[in-house]
């Protein structure tokens, strides 16, 4: 009998007389869950809720707008992770609404796969300003911090939209109606920051939690762990990804983050300000801070500035308040071919993952 089968049998042996919701906060977890068809194999009473696990989805609309304007107006070479290129901003019909459209209009925008690519492009173009538009959670922001600490060319600056995962979960828990009974904590965020970052879920809120990896066995083990914690009443932060997520995380990565970046209150698209949830360059790195180097093009009077696109329920999806196919436009106006909201754009977005997983029909209202 496979290890997955053993975990499934153990989960099915539980009996709950109410629906139990387990939230994940990682696009990689949601992808594994959806592609393995886990929801269909689990008991009826168990719901798996995708939560805030997509940094591209919550990247402030103003930052995307600013990146587009830097490329169009200030003629910089704008580099960004490929996921960011099709994220739409809220502008009038006919105006440039994404980095991809700006690129088509002649702006020099280049998708990259690593901060090292940004450094290389800057080295190869010493006479031109290069801006690295860096969205991401802790796992991705730590390498950006590493690049900064190691030393970067004078012509390279960073438009940083890095976010921390745990404050969004803390906000949900503090709201009084978190919408979940247990948490599966993200494996690679924990690899860098240490699993202990999630202890507050147990210590402050008495909600069961377990760190999981990305394989079926690890995810099922984490579900079993939190369900068992619910049953027995005993709470502890379990780690079902011990092979990679070690206590204390990656000490070099954490030190580099502390050395280069401050933690600040930060805006999440469609959600608002979450306290201590964002990264900003420390003053010592001001000459590489694109927020300080270039004119601020974000016009706060712009219609729907900072919001999700009209009709799009991405903010509710990100917070786990609704499932992707409960969005008003899922699979209708919004598909991967013509995405309206960022959750349908990014590979980490729950809407895109569900679509790729074969969910093609909107849920009944």
């Amino acid at each position: 009998m496979s290890e997955s089968r053993v975990w499934l049998d153990k989960i099915h042996a539980f009996e709950f007389n109410r629906p139990i919701k387990i939230m994940n906060v990682c696009g990689g977890h949601e992808r594994s869950i959806t592609h393995a068809g886990m929801r269909g194999a689990l008991p009826q009473w168990l719901e798996l809720v995708p939560g805030p696990g997509c940094p591209v989805c919550v990247c402030p609309e103003e930052d995307v707008y600013q990146a587009i304007q830097l490329a169009l107006q200030d003629k910089v070479i704008l580099v960004a992770f490929g996921d960011m290129l099709r994220v739409p901003v809220n502008v009038k019909k006919g105006e440039v609404r994404s980095l991809a459209e700006a690129q088509a209009a002649g702006a020099d925008i280049r998708p990259i796969a690593s901060p090292l690519d940004a450094r290389k492009i800057a080295q190869e173009n010493p006479d031109r300003p290069v801006v690295f538009f860096a969205a991401g959670f802790e796992t991705t922001t730590a390498p950006t911090a590493a690049m900064l600490a190691e030393g970067i060319p004078d012509n390279l600056s960073i438009l940083l939209s890095g976010r921390l995962t745990w404050p969004a979960v803390a906000m949900l828990l503090d709201s009084g109606s978190p919408g979940f009974d247990a948490l599966v904590a993200p494996g690679h965020v924990s690899t860098v920051m240490g699993p202990e970052e999630w202890s507050f879920v147990i210590d402050r809120h008495e909600i069961p939690a377990a760190v999981a990896g990305f394989g079926t066995e690890s995810l099922l083990a984490s579900f079993y762990s939190v369900l068992r914690q619910l049953k027995t009443g005993e709470r502890f932060l379990d780690n079902c990804y011990r092979e990679v997520a070690h206590p204390g995380g990656n000490p070099t990565g954490r030190r580099l983050l502390d050395h280069t970046l401050d933690i600040v209150d930060a805006n999440w698209r469609g959600i608002g300000i979450i306290p201590s949830s964002g990264y900003a360059l420390k003053p010592a790195f001001a000459k590489h801070d694109a927020h300080l180097l270039f004119p601020d093009h974000t016009d706060p009077g712009r219609r729907r500035a900072g919001e999700m696109p009209p009709g799009c329920d991405c903010a509710q999806v990100v917070l786990g308040k609704i499932y992707p196919n409960q969005c008003r436009i899922y699979g209708k106006a919004c598909t991967p071919r013509n995405p309206v909201g960022p959750c349908m754009v990014s590979d980490e977005g729950a809407c895109r993952i569900w679509w790729a997983g074969g969910v093609r029909v909107a849920a009944d209202a």
């Binding site: 090292l116 991401g136 690899t191 990679v244 990656n250 991967p336």
Partner: protein
């Protein structure tokens, strides 16, 4: 975006490691591994061009199989 891929280190020059995963080679930064420097032959989890943690060979091979499955199924 937090996807990480196991790779095996074939050579090291300063903070740069030549790494291989199933016939694909990449230069990977070891700058985030200064507290636990890996050696040639070790397997590391690589995220956006940076090694973020060592991983045992058996776990690396399991992860490769898993990634193959996910990539196959999400060919959309």
């Amino acid at each position: 975006m937090c996807l990480a891929i196991p790779m095996q280190i074939e050579s090291i020059d300063g903070f740069t490691a030549r790494c291989q995963a199933k016939g694909v080679w990449r230069d990977v930064s070891l700058f985030m591994m200064q507290d636990a420097p890996p050696a040639v032959g070790d397997f590391v989890m690589v995220h956006v061009g940076y090694a973020i943690q060592k991983i045992a060979e058996a776990d690396a091979r399991t992860t490769w199989e898993l990634l193959d499955q996910i990539l196959e199924e999400s060919g959309a």
